[in-house]
């Protein structure tokens, strides 16, 4: 004998649920008449309400399989070409370097002075006038966008370096907020465009392309002339 599942409701309640028929006879007739009256004024339903000569797109709002395939192919080609162009031109992993001049500052600098510029006094030879000059340096912000880099150094050539710091390599820190590798330093105002370069992961050299050679207060010779009295 097969097991019968335990009823979830007592038989009496199930009986009542089946017997509940809240339908009044007069109301039923009125309701059916209202339905049929509305039906008679509605347009008759048809299996093919639109002639098959109309395209599937207009008839059903969907493409036929061949049309969908063609549209999909075109979209794939188009997005493929544009994404390839995007990768070649400006990929998100591309490395970009930038330098900008923030301002100028002055730093004392020893300048060799010719003998004829020395002043001779009654007490003998004393220190030359203006043997210590205050040279104008530039505060430059270097920035590198290299999302996949793990270690970045800023390398400067001798022409841009501070006195006594030729060829120095600076470790560049990464700004967590912007994701850029940034550092600020002072450089000679005579530094040329290719004086600095980033070295990414000790392998890739990225020159800083922003020109740095615009003089702050005029050419070097003019500055020397002004100060070498």
């Amino acid at each position: 004998m097969a097991d019968t599942p335990t009823p979830l409701l007592p038989a009496e309640l199930q009986d009542l649920l089946r017997q509940l028929r809240p339908v009044d006879a007069a109301q039923r007739v009125r309701s059916m008449d209202a339905i049929m009256a509305a039906v008679h004024v509605m347009p008759a339903p048809r299996r093919w309400s639109l002639p098959p000569s109309i395209t599937r797109w207009r008839r059903r709002g969907v493409l036929a399989p061949a049309g969908a395939l063609a549209v999909g192919l075109l979209l794939t080609l188009w997005t493929g070409v544009t994404s390839l162009t995007d990768v070649l031109s400006r990929s998100s992993s591309a490395v970009l370097a930038k330098a900008e001049i923030i301002g100028d500052t002055v730093i004392p600098r020893l300048v060799p002075v010719a003998d004829e510029t020395r002043l001779v006094t009654a007490g003998g030879v004393r220190r030359a006038l203006h043997d210590t000059l205050y040279d104008t340096m530039r505060i430059v912000r270097f920035a590198l966008r290299a999302p996949e880099a793990t270690r970045v150094m800023l390398v400067e050539s001798a022409s841009a370096a501070l006195p006594g710091a030729q060829g120095t390599r600076f470790a560049v820190a990464r700004d967590l907020a912007s994701g850029l590798w940034e550092m600020r330093t002072v450089v000679s105002r005579h530094a040329v465009a290719d004086a600095f370069a980033f070295v990414v992961d000790d392998a890739q050299r990225v020159p800083v392309r922003t020109p740095l050679s615009e003089p702050a207060f005029g050419p070097r010779e003019q500055a020397l002339a002004d100060t070498s009295l």
Partner: protein, 191 residues
């Protein structure tokens, strides 16, 4: 009259085919066949007889409008009930967005309509009233499941096809609804 009688003996699929062929009056046979069950189901679900009548009329008009989408391999009743369930759900949703008296208040119309059955004794009338009140206190999804299962006598796969809910979820709803009904009606049943 003989035409109506012959139509009433036809299967649902054949009647639908006649309606689609232009015989609009044949649709009355389908209305006559399923009107009572639809009103009963909607009344149990909505708890308001007048609102149930509106939902049923709306259901039949939608069924007529979209009759061409009915596939003959499907049961017409299940197809019609899918529309009915959706209409009732829509009305329940509309009701929840506007202040209305609780279901327990409007279900009294259902109780009044059934309590006057001449062959009912007083206990059975009282039990019927309590059952209607208990049904009205159920959540809408549980009430829908228990009415489809017990009142309409549908199997779980049939209920799943109509409501779009999984069989296991429907079983759980029926189980919880029955637990709730048993709790609410313990005193009445054993009293």
């Amino acid at each position: 009259m003989s035409g109506v009688i012959s139509i009433m003996t036809l299967s649902d699929a054949l009647i639908v085919r006649r309606v689609l062929g232009g015989d609009t009056e044949a649709f009355r046979a389908l209305v006559d066949r399923y009107h009572d069950d639809a009103v009963r189901y909607a009344t149990h679900l909505l708890g308001c007889h007048a609102e149930a009548e509106d939902a049923v009329q709306d259901t039949f008009l939608r069924a007529y409008r979209y009759l061409a989408s009915y596939q003959e391999q499907d049961k017409f009743r299940a197809w019609l009930w899918r529309i009915l369930v959706n209409r009732c759900r829509t009305r329940l949703g509309e009701r929840s967005r506007r202040p209305e008296p609780r279901d327990a208040a409007v279900i009294t119309q259902l109780v009044d309509a059934n309590a006057s059955a001449p062959d009912d004794d007083l206990d059975r009338t009282f039990l019927r009233e309590e059952l209607a009140q208990a049904l009205a206190s159920l959540p809408a999804d549980q009430r829908e499941a228990v009415v489809l299962h017990f009142t309409e006598g549908l199997s779980y796969p049939e209920m799943s096809a109509i409501t779009g809910t999984g069989v296991s979820a429907l079983k759980m709803r029926v189980h919880r609804a029955c637990d709730r009904l048993r709790t609410l009606l313990t005193d009445v049943i054993h009293g």
